[in-house]
């Protein structure tokens, strides 16, 4: 019988930490050990619980119109969820906007179900409203597991969004002069013991883009990409990015299109 006891995790982290300090040459073995641990976790990734919850929410009639989200058009036609996440963000003619999965789900909630989505946008993380949105995004992302990332960025608005995202990536501000690039703009760097993907490269963008939404073992929380970005900005000492806003979609477009060709591994699992 195996379970996830907290002591086990702590021991593992300690082992990882000690090895990292002894010699850099040993770090390969450490990473291998962590990889093995991650593999064991993947076998029982609690993200599946959120996926199931999201699927239920997707298929259940809700909102003033008492309609499900099953006819939502995520870019591959109404009702097509399989593979949709891997092709997002993209331009949608009906809203005349480039949207990621999460902002598109909001659109469907508003138009199909008649839901007042402002409440959902404004709600803080860990609120019941955000839990619903994260579960829905987790479900939708899971339907693209194993699908190749193919963010088109051929429509002029998609192209413009990519360029805005790239510019945002390098935009410094706040008391610490931080931009996304401060941490995610070099190869092989880490914060404390946390490895940082170098996002302007295909490999780095793929490491980030294909692994969120992800279950975070340390906090027991399921995080969507919007939540991931919001917490990056928090640590950058920036104001809070508004859920589904163009800033978040632009950065997603930059990441997704840079990651093109990589394989979605969602929902993921993190330490």
């Amino acid at each position: 019988m195996t379970a996830h006891p907290r002591a086990g995790l702590a021991t593992l982290l300690l082992v990882a930490a000690v090895s990292a300090g002894v010699a850099r040459a040993e770090s390969d073995a450490t990473i291998e050990g962590i990889e093995k641990y991650r593999e064991a976790l993947r076998d029982g990734n609690p993200a599946e619980l959120f996926e199931a919850q999201g699927e239920e929410l997707w298929k259940k009639p809700a909102g003033p119109k008492s309609v499900s989200l099953e006819t939502c058009d995520l870019g591959m036609g109404p009702g097509v969820v399989a593979g949709a996440y891997a092709h997002l963000p993209r331009y949608f003619a009906d809203t005349d906007k480039v949207q990621d999965a999460e902002s598109r789900i909001l659109t469907c909630m508003a138009t199909l179900q008649g839901v007042d989505v402002k409440k959902y946008v404004d709600a803080r993380w860990t609120s019941p409203e955000k839990d619903e949105l994260v579960a829905l995004a987790t479900y939708v992302s899971g339907q693209s597991k194993g699908v190749k990332v193919a963010a088109s960025a051929t429509h002029p608005k998609e192209r413009a969004m990519f360029d805005l995202g790239k510019r945002m990536f390098y935009f410094q501000g706040g008391p610490h002069d931080f931009s996304c690039a401060t941490c995610h703009g070099q190869e092989g760097a880490r914060i404390r013991l946390q490895d940082l993907p170098n996002i302007p490269t295909q490999k780095g963008a793929a490491a980030g883009w294909t692994s969120w939404p992800a279950y975070r073992v340390s906090s027991g929380q399921m995080w969507s990409m919007q939540w991931r970005l919001a917490d990056c900005f928090r640590q950058q000492r920036f104001p809070e990015p508004i859920y589904g806003s163009d800033v978040t979609v632009a950065l997603s477009m930059f990441m997704a299109a840079t990651a093109n060709g990589a394989t979605m591994d969602t929902p993921g699992i993190k330490r």
């Binding site: 076998d43 609690p46 599946e48 027991g220």
Partner: protein, 103 residues
Amino acid sequence: MGNPMKIRATAKDGVTEVKVLMSHEMETGFRKDSSGNPIPAWFIAEVTAKLDGKDVMKAQWGPSISKNPYLSFKIKGGAAGGKVAITWVDSKGDSRTDQATIA
């Protein structure tokens, strides 16, 4: 009542491997909320597995098990089409049972 579990069970050469994901907060009782008040302990205390209606495992758990726990174990016996049922009872007396068909 709790949220549904995810149960997978596969039989091979007379052994059934069961993998269960349970949705539970698993509060240790040692944490404090943002205003400094202790959050009361709340965890799964007992887990029972049944194979085709017969008890095959009972486990006593405590607050050291993680949130949303994952449990895997093997049972001697069981065949495709059989039923594995898992029940948990938590420290508040709440319980939940889910069942899966062996593949």
